[in-house]
Structures are given as C-alpha cells and as structure tokens.
Symmetry: C2
Subunit: 362 residues, 2 copies
C-alpha cells in the first residue's frame, strides 16, 4: 500500500534541498507566494473531487521547470498514483493533413456525449505555445473544448523529448486520478514522439489518408509497424472509393507484418471525421482490442512494462545529459566528430577519448 | 590527413596505462610473448598485402577482451582507417528457416566466381562459438569457405550487443583495408541486432519466405520498414507460385510505406538459393540501389551519419554501463523496480532517487 505521508522516497530528490521544509499542511505557506495558495493535499483533494480548474493548475506545476513547483508536483503525483491507471490510454498519430484535430474533435465529442470522461493530451517536443502547437489552438476543437466531460491540454512547451514525454505521462496520472476514463495522446508523426507515446498508451492508432507517396511524406518509417490499428480518414465525397481501396491495401499489408506481442491482429477501418461517419467503427476496434488484451493478460503486462520502461528511460536520459550538457565536452565532441567524419579517427577511439575526459573530471 | 605515428589520440585510452611502452617496432617485443610476434605495423602491412591469415589474426585481436590486445587492435584499425570504405556493405537478415546460410553461400560463391572479394561477417550477441552461432559452422558454407576471394568470420562470441557490433564494425575496416570490395553482415532477426547491422551497412536486405503468420514469428516488427529490399527465397518446386504471389503482396505493402530517406523505393524479388536462381536479380537490385544513392549523394551521407552514430552509440553505451554495472546500484534498482511495478513509486521519482545515489558516489 502507498503511504503518501511517508517522505522516505523523496529524500533522494536533488531538485531542492528543502524537502523537509516543503509546504504541506502549514497554513502560513499558503500566503507566502504570489499565485500558489494550494498545498499538495489541496491539489490532491481537488483532483480527486474532479475539479478541472485545480487539475489544470496541477498540470501547470507538472510542466513547470521551477524546482519548487516540481517538488509540489511530484508530491501530488505520488498521492494520485494509487488512484491512477483506470483509463484506456489511446495514442493517435498521423501525417500532417490527416485530419488529427478534426478526428479527435469528432471522436472525442461523440465519446463525451456518450458519457465518457475524456482527457486529450499531446506530445510535441517542437511545440511552443505561441506558435500553434498541436492542440494548442483550442478553437480548432471548439465543440470538444466546451464539452462537460472533456479536458484538453496542449503539449508542454518546447523541451527535450524526454522532458515533454515525462510531463505528459505524469499528466495522465493526474487525469486518471481526477476520474477521466479515456485518455488521448496526440503526436506529430516525426518518429521519436511516436515511440514515446507508444510507450505510454494501451492502443496506438495511426490515422491515414488515401494515396501513397507524397501524402505519406510526413510520417516516419517504422510507425506503421507500431500501430495497433489504422483509421483511414477523409472517407467522404469523391474520396470514398479511394479510401475503400486503401483499406483493403492496408489490410493486406498488415497481414504481412509479423504477429504483435499482444496477439492482436491490427486492421484498418475507414472514417470521416468531417461527416462523423465510421467513428464508431474506430471505437469498436479499440474496444475489441482492449477486451482482447484484458483477456490474455497483455493489458496489465504492457502497463507494468511501460512503468519500468519510463524508469529506465528517465535514468538513461539523465545519464546522457550529464555528458552531453557538459560545456567542456561539447567542445571536444564537436572536434572529435569532425575527425571521425574526415576518417582521421575511428568512432570508437573518439568515443573512448571523450569518455576518459568525462570520467576524469567527475 | 591521418598520422598513425601521432600518438596524441591514444592518450585518452583507459584500457591500459602502458601506452608509451606499447610494442611498435622494437624487435625484442616480438619474442616477449607466447603467440603474438607481430607488431601493429606488421599486422597493417599483412592486411594491406591481402594476407588472409594475418587479417584473421588481427580480427582475433579486435575480438579479444584483453586490454593489451585491444591496444594493438586499435592501432591496427587506425592505420587501416584511411584505406577503408571502399566496399559495398550489405546487411542480410531473415527469420530462422528463411535459408540465410544457403543464400549467403550461393550468392557469395557466385560473386566470388565473378571476381568479387567478399567478406562475410555476422552480428549475433547470443552466439557462442561452441553452440553453432550463425556462420559459426563453416561446414554449412563449404563451397564459399574454400573460395579464393572469400573471408568468412562468425560473430564475435557472446557479449553485449554494443560490444559485438563494435567488433563487427571494426572488422569491416580491416577487411576493406585488405581489399575486400563486398561485405555481408548477417544478423538473426531479433530486432536489436538488426538496428546495429542497419547502422553499419549501405543496403539492408530482408530475406523472406512465403506465407504469413507463423513463418514470420521469428522476426521482429519494424524490421520490414528498415529493409532496402526484400528477397523471397525458396522460390522453387511447389513453392514457385506462392513465392510469386508473395512478391506481389510485398510489392503492394512496400508501396504503402512512407518514402525512404534515400529516395529509393524498396521492392521484392524472388530467388532460390538451393537452385541458384534469381540471385542475379537480387544482386541487380543491390547494384541499382548503390547507383541510385551514389548519384544522389546519399551513399556518402549515410556513411558519415553512420560514423557519427557509432561514436555516439559507444559513448552512450559506456555512460549507461557505468550506472548499470555498479553493484550497489543494481541492488537499489531492483528494489525501485519492484516499487514501481507495485504502483508505490512513480517511475520518475524512482529514477531520480537512483540517479542521486549514482552522482553522489562518483
């Protein structure tokens, strides 16, 4: 059982020395800062009560790079952890122009109307709030953003993929503790974000449009084989026949792929987010998949594998950062790289020299 | 320009303190050891003279885990580097049972007979010499192993993937300096080895057999999208029609994939390694590809990207090893992992605690 009151696990946190002085239930700390008047317990209770405004503020803390915000955020997350996990997490990716926003809007509104509590998040390391990141422009999801049961949150603003992914994953925990039973994680089709999203969702949906070649330019190779299912969007108007052909093509292609670890056989369906047709087919595919993996145990297996994955991923990222963010090494690295590119130095000798410098300094 | 006589670059090597005392041209050192009587210069000259026996001994040094062997090996590699790069490097993977050995034997013998100088290497981190690793049993390649122009070398024996891959990549350098113009790198279809091989070859060939489902069980998802071409083997006897159908299916599937970075459109051909048919079609595909990427500059681009990749990969592997091979941390890691799996601790807090411990100790 989890004991939020047990501080033992926080002692290792390096972000701030003042762990013991952390505002907890001391009422005075409520007024010691400009904006934040809530304790971690307040956030936790607000989230558990399904208070969307407090959930939003907690997510802002999760996204903050201020050490004092992070400390509170981590406490809130720890408190929420035992109440998390009770949602279906769906990753959604697709080429620019596949109609992701419209799809999420249409699909999400339908789900919300049918009583689902939907949180829509995003992973987009390139995003900046001001530059219209994915989901950044809520006006693109006007209907969904006003739905009672929906919580839409743009990608955390620009940062390392690891950082952005961590924040999204932590936000899932908070949303689940707040009672959301369905979580969408949107990504941008560039490869790395997909891997990150794939590693935090139960079902990974690839949104396609008809045609080959240019239309697929934006998506990275390898993503198709990650997908648990494909939805061919824009199956409307003059496009219906083409979309049907594409569905068959993808069906045949998917059959040539090696079996998935889950034992599930991915397939393709058509839909039109604009005309709101076929969305239930997409949802049925997702539900069938979830039933399938709940039955054979893969659901829980994948969740625990993902939790492990993120622990190791976080460790790995920090270990690498401690090297690559070292100013002295940056200089040496760029020199070594040039020599390697000129065939003057083997990749391995170059690496060894740099590592020697790193471990010497430490 | 490369200056092998300049020792500056070796100073960083941590494997052995006695860099300055390294046997170079001192004739006395030739008799100071049991078996090794060659200096790095001797190895280098032997390799450049195309002496296969000396090449084999140099590869043994590359594969050795003894620091003194590694020092000599690294010197030999450095000397060979300026003379490397002049081969076509081809990665070959496929499910167990796809007939990789027979294919390499047939294809390789044909190439050798046509005057190519062929080196056949392998990446198989699970291999142990005694247990019949891939390529380990030269009797499986009897014809090729007796060909004048061929050099067959099994995978370095069991070790980390990074270690095995490094050795294979360094062996490519030696083989090229010895005049081999064609290099095959065989892998086992398990995923990680494929990524490693893919990152050191110009063309990545997936060997398939007809059928879906069970026949594909052995190969990992994602590998199909890595392939620059597919050869459907065992197109013989009663299997010809099925293989032709498979060729069309793969053709259609490949057309649905996003474009490759090289601008090349991968396709599928059929062949029979046993009946030695279609092998020239496979080779033509490879040659067409090489012409294509030489023309558009991708050949050189990919080679330099790969050199960079291996520098970073080596750095990353060592940084992670310094954490994961720490006995104290191993214990803490396993405890933390259990808490994460029990949902008692978030992946990120667990990671932070461990990292704190690691950086504290250093």
């Amino acid at each position: 059982m989890h004991h939020p009151e047990n501080d033992e696990q926080y002692k290792g946190l390096t972000v701030n020395k003042g762990v013991e002085n952390l505002p907890t239930v001391n009422p005075y700390t409520r007024f010691s800062r400009k904006k934040r008047v809530l304790t971690p317990e307040d956030y936790f209770r607000g989230i558990r009560d399904g208070n969307i405004s407090i959930l939003g503020q907690a997510v802002t803390l999760v996204e903050s790079s201020l050490p004092e915000d992070q400390l509170i955020a981590q406490r809130v997350i720890e408190m929420c952890l035992p109440y998390s996990g009770n949602s279906i997490r769906i990753g959604i990716t697709g080429v620019p122009g596949a109609g992701k926003s419209t799809f999420i809007e249409a699909m999400g509104t339908d789900l919300a109307n049918r009583g689902k509590h939907l949180a829509v998040l995003a992973i987009d390391p390139s995003s900046e709030r001001s530059k219209g990141s994915i989901l950044g422009d809520k006006t693109r999801m006007q209907e969904l953003s006003t739905a009672k049961n929906a919580f839409i949150r743009p990608s955390p603003s620009a940062g390392s993929l690891g950082g952005v992914a961590r924040k999204t994953r932590e936000t899932i925990v908070l949303c689940e503790a707040a009672g959301f039973d369905t979580v969408f994680v949107e990504t941008v089709g560039v490869g790395q974000s997909e891997t990150a999203a794939h590693s935090m969702v139960d079902f990974f949906l690839l949104l396609q449009v008809t045609g080959t070649g240019d239309e697929l330019q934006g998506i990275k190779r390898g993503i198709m084989e990650m997908a648990d299912g494909i939805a061919i969007n824009k199956c409307d108007g003059n496009n219906i026949e083409k979309a049907q052909v594409a569905k068959t093509q993808f069906k045949n292609a998917l059959a040539l792929f090696p079996p998935t670890e889950s034992g599930w056989k991915p397939y393709a369906v058509t839909c039109s987010a604009v005309e709101k047709t076929g969305l239930r087919d997409v949802w049925k595919m997702i539900e069938d998949y979830i039933s399938h993996i709940r039955l054979n145990g893969y659901f829980d297996y994948q969740r625990t594998q993902q939790a492990k994955y993120w622990m190791y991923e976080t460790i790995n990222e920090q270990l690498l950062n401690s090297f690559y963010q070292n100013e002295h090494l940056k200089q040496l690295l760029s020199e070594a790289e040039q020599k390697v590119l000129n065939n003057e130095l083997s990749s391995f000798i170059a690496a060894h020299n740099l590592l020697n410098e790193y471990f010497k300094k430490d």
